[in-house]
Symmetry: C2
Subunit: 134 residues, 2 copies
């Protein structure tokens, strides 16, 4: 059902400094950068193997990542698993009793389709599924 770890999402206060850390110091190539208005973030993707780190900088305090930073500070925000068919997977997860934040897929970074599962169903872990752009 879940093919692989697609990425970890990291909430950051300073996107430039964080890109510099991950690319310059940790050696992960920065491959994409995008404002994802629907999620209230400016995001950067850095490759590591066939997965990536997604750095998330909030566009405003009153956004999910802005509230996360205010409450918990910078750090790990979510984990995302790649799936082949996001509608089918959402159906399977709902059938298995998992509560969803997104009943239907929405647009993610780089033309992907994404949905978040509710942490109350996943042991406190904000979990995303992502169907990469074809």
């Amino acid at each position: 059902m879940l093919d692989r770890i697609d990425h970890v999402g990291v909430a950051v206060e300073d996107l430039e400094a964080s890109i510099s850390l991950y690319e310059g110091t940790l050696g992960m190539p920065a491959v994409h950068r995008e404002v994802v208005a629907e999620q209230g973030v400016e995001a950067a993707l850095l490759d590591v193997g066939d997965g990536h780190v997604e750095l998330l900088s909030p566009l405003a305090e009153d956004t999910p990542v802005g509230r996360f930073l205010a409450r918990k500070g910078p750090g790990l925000h979510h984990v995302a698993y790649a799936v082949a068919d996001i509608e089918a997977t959402l159906g399977q997860l709902t059938g298995a009793g998992i509560a969803l934040i997104d009943e239907r897929p929405r647009t993610g970074i780089r033309g992907s389709r994404v949905a978040f599962l509710h942490p109350r169903s996943t042991g406190g872990v904000l979990t995303e599924i992502v169907e990469p752009h074809a």
Copy 2:
């Protein structure tokens, strides 16, 4: 330097229930279970692609994961990247100014060698490097 995302570590309060969630509901095969005394946890590994989820249940309240649970509750605890040569990578990271929790590798799960980087150097993200057992 960092080859791929090896795993995400998840702090859990109930290991059995968490294995049931990840294996039974999310469909990840549970492949290993071990008490890692050096880290004060009982851990379970579940495969997803060529990576895995590592569930961490503290052996006592006065352990790193026990204190994490008391402070933050269950959820994402760390991210780990696979490396080919852990000593060489620790040398590179130190040279780049990254602070380490473990100056030398210690024994991780399944005979791996692991070291943790200090979150103050990695944007609040508890980051592990792991050289899998040959």
